[in-house]
C-alpha cells in the first residue's frame, strides 16, 4: 500500500515540556490507525502539527509526497486532511443543518463555485450533489437527521461529537484525524458510535487516524497502533503486538510488565 502521510522526525517543545520528540510515522493509504497514550503524551500535538495548527521546531510532514509542514490549517484542509476535535468545535448559534451548510459553502467557495453574488447552486465537489442534499446525506450518515433543526449548542454531547465529525467530512477529506471521537460517550455506546463513524467515513474512502483511551475500542477498530509516551512513539505495530509491548503496558495501559 502506498504512503499517504509521512511524518519525519517531528520535534516540538513548549518551554520545558517536550510535546514531540523525533516523531516519525508513515501512514498507509486506506488504513485505520489508533493513537494511544496518556494525557500529555503527544497525541493531540501530533494531530495539531499534521493539521498545521502547531509548527514543529524540526522535522517535516509530507502528504502524498508534498511537503505541508509550513502550511496553515485552511490550506491543509483544502488539500484533503481534515480533523475533528476533542471538544467539538461547532457553530453554536446555528442549527445542525446550517452548520453543514456553512462548511459546504466554504467548499463551494474554495472550488470557485460560489462568489460574492452567486449562491453556490452547483453540485458539491466530491459528492456531485447540491449543497442541501449533501448536508442531509451527511447528517443521515451520522444519525443526526432528528437533530437537523436544533441549534448546535443545545445538542447532547454525543450528537455534538458526531456533528463535529460530520463537519470534518464536508470537504471530502482523504485523511481524517479524529481526536477522541468517543470521549464523553458512555462505554455501552462507544462501540456503536465508533462503528457508525467508521462506516460513514470508510464508505467515502478515507484514511483514518483516531485518538482513543479505551483499549478495547482500539483493538477492535484499529489496524495499526501508534503508542505515544512523553512526546515519543514507543510502539508502532498491529494492535495486539502494540498492546503487548512492555513499555506500552507500563506507561499506557498501566500494567506492570
Amino acid at each position: 500500500m502506498s504512503v499517504i502521510l509521512d511524518a519525519q522526525g517531528l520535534c516540538k517543545t513548549f518551554g520545558a515540556v517536550t510535546a514531540a520528540s523525533e516523531v516519525s510515522a508513515a501512514i498507509e493509504k486506506d488504513s485505520v490507525v489508533g493513537l494511544i497514550g496518556t494525557n500529555g503524551a503527544g497525541k493531540t500535538t501530533f494531530i495539531n502539527i499534521v493539521t498545521g495548527y502547531i509548527k514543529p521546531d524540526r522535522g517535516s510532514i509530507a502528504y502524498e509526497g508534498r511537503d505541508i509542514t509550513r502550511l496553515p490549517p485552511r490550506a491543509i484542509t483544502r488539500l484533503g486532511i481534515c480533523r475533528s476535535f476533542q471538544i467539538p468545535q461547532l457553530y453554536g448559534s446555528l442549527t445542525a443543518f446550517d452548520n453543514m451548510m456553512v462548511g459546504i459553502g466554504i467548499v463551494l467557495r474554495n472550488a470557485g463555485l460560489a462568489g460574492y453574488f452567486s449562491r453556490g447552486a452547483a453540485p458539491v465537489p466530491g459528492y456531485g450533489r447540491p449543497a442541501e442534499e449533501v448536508a442531509e446525506h451527511l447528517l443521515g450518515r451520522f444519525g443526526l437527521l432528528e437533530e437537523r433543526d436544533r441549534n448546535a449548542q443545545v445538542l447532547p454531547g454525543g450528537a455534538r461529537k458526531l456533528l463535529d465529525i460530520a463537519l470534518a467530512m464536508v470537504a471530502k477529506p482523504r485523511v481524517l484525524l479524529l481526536d477522541e471521537p468517543t470521549s464523553g460517550v458512555s462505554s455501552q455506546e462507544k462501540f456503536g458510535m465508533m462503528q457508525m463513524v467508521l462506516d460513514a467515513v470508510r464508505a467515502e474512502g478515507v484514511t483514518v487516524l483516531f485518538v482513543e483511551h479505551d483499549m478495547e475500542v482500539v483493538s477492535r477498530f484499529a489496524q495499526r497502533v501508534l503508542a505515544f509516551y512523553d512526546g515519543r512513539i514507543i510502539a508502532d505495530a498491529a494492535p495486539q503486538a502494540a498492546l503487548a509491548h512492555p513499555e506500552v503496558k507500563r506507561y499506557v495501559v498501566g500494567q506492570r510488565a
Binding site: T51, P72, P73, R74, T77, R78, C82, R83, Q89, L90, Y91, G92, S93, L94, D98, M101, V102, G103, I104, G105, I106, V107, L108, R109, N110, A114, G115, Y116, F117, S118, R119, G120, L167, A168, V170, A171
Partner: protein
C-alpha cells in the same frame, strides 16, 4: 422554509417613495435623505455585527466620503451627486482595504477601540487642516444630477430619489451577498473561528472583505450626507458620530437589510422631536429611548416585524 419578501418590499417602498415624494414637505425630504445616508453606514455595520465585530469607527469612512465629495466640488468643480457618491465610496473602500490588513487581525474590544482610534486620527488631522476649513469645515456646492441642475424646488426631491435609489441598490446587493456562502460565513466567524479555519476558509480574509464593504457603504453615506446638508466639518469623524451609527444599529437590529434604513429614519425622527422639545437636553430623550429599547426589544425594532411575520 418561509418565503423571503425582502426584495419585493424594498422595491415597493422605493416606488412608493418616488411617487409620493413630490407631495412631501421639504423638511421631511431632508430627514429622509439623511436617514438614507445614515442607513447606508449602518448597513455596513450590520455586516460587521453579524460577524460579531463592533466598529466604533465607521465615522472615519463616513467623514472620508463626505470630504471626498466636498473636495470634488472645492477643487475640481464637480457637484454631480452620483459622481460624489461613487468617489466617496471608492476613497473610503480603498482606505478600508489598507486599514483592513491591520484591523482584520483584531476581534472584540481591540477591533472596536482600534477603529475608534483611527477615526479620531482623521478628526485630528482635519481640525488642523486650514485648506479644508479646519474646525469650521466648508460648504458643498449645490448638487447636480447627471450634469442637470434641477429647479430650486426640485433639488431636495432629486437628492432624495437619488439617495433612495442608491440605498435600494446597496440593500439589494447586501441582501444577495448575505445569501451566498461568503455572506453566510458571518455568524460562523462570530461563533467559532477555529472551525472556519479548519473548514478551509480564512476568517481574517472574510473579515477584511466585510470591512471594505462596510467602509465603502459608509463612504457613499458620507458623500450623500454632505450633499444633503450642504456643509461638512470634522465632527463627522468624531467618535460620537460612530456612536450614532451603533445606536441606530441597536435600534434597528441586524435581522434584515431594510432594518438600518427604518432604524435611521426613526432615529432621525426621535432626534428631531427630542431637539424640538428641549434643545438643551435632547440627549436625555434619546438616551431614554435607547434604554427602553435595550430593555424591551434587545434584538431591535426589526424583531417586532419578524415576530409579526412568524405569527401570521
Amino acid at each position: 422554509m418561509r418565503r423571503d419578501h425582502t426584495v419585493t418590499i424594498l422595491c415597493t417602498a422605493f416606488v412608493f417613495l418616488a411617487l409620493a415624494g413630490p407631495w412631501l414637505p421639504q423638511w421631511a425630504m431632508f430627514i429622509m435623505t439623511v436617514a438614507f445616508a445614515r442607513g447606508l453606514v449602518v448597513l455596513g455595520l450590520l455586516l460587521l455585527l453579524r460577524a460579531g465585530l463592533v466598529s466604533f469607527g465607521q465615522a472615519l469612512f463616513y467623514c472620508l466620503g463626505a470630504y471626498s465629495a466636498g473636495a470634488l466640488g472645492r477643487f475640481f468643480g464637480v457637484a454631480d451627486i452620483f459622481v460624489e457618491m461613487a468617489v466617496g465610496g471608492a476613497v473610503a473602500a480603498a482606505t478600508a482595504f489598507v486599514l483592513g490588513f491591520l484591523l482584520a487581525r483584531y476581534r472584540g474590544i481591540f477591533f472596536g477601540l482600534l477603529s475608534l482610534a483611527l477615526s479620531m486620527i482623521l478628526y485630528g488631522l482635519l481640525v488642523k487642516s486650514e485648506a479644508l476649513g479646519s474646525t469650521d469645515g466648508f460648504n458643498i456646492l449645490p448638487s447636480t444630477l447627471f450634469g442637470l441642475r434641477p429647479g430650486a424646488e426640485w433639488v431636495r426631491y432629486a437628492v432624495l430619489v437619488s439617495a433612495a435609489a442608491v440605498a435600494l441598490a446597496a440593500a439589494l446587493l447586501v441582501h444577495r451577498y448575505l445569501d451566498t456562502p461568503l455572506g453566510r460565513l458571518a455568524p460562523a466567524i462570530k461563533d467559532n473561528e477555529i472551525r472556519v479555519e479548519y473548514m478551509g476558509a480564512s476568517a481574517r480574509r472574510a473579515v477584511h472583505v466585510k470591512y471594505v464593504i462596510a467602509g465603502g457603504l459608509a463612504g457613499i453615506g458620507g458623500a450623500l450626507a454632505a450633499t444633503a446638508v450642504g456643509h461638512i466639518d470634522p465632527e463627522m469623524a468624531y467618535w460620537t458620530t460612530s456612536g450614532e451609527f451603533i445606536f441606530i444599529a441597536i435600534l434597528a437590529g441586524t435581522g434584515n437589510v431594510a432594518a438600518p434604513f427604518v432604524g435611521a429614519l426613526i432615529y432621525g425622527a426621535i432626534h428631531t422631536m427630542a431637539y424640538d422639545l428641549s434643545p438643551n437636553t435632547w440627549q436625555l430623550s434619546l438616551g431614554a429611548a435607547l434604554l427602553l429599547l435595550i430593555v424591551f426589544l434587545p434584538e431591535g425594532l426589526w424583531s417586532l416585524f419578524s415576530r409579526y411575520v412568524r405569527h401570521s
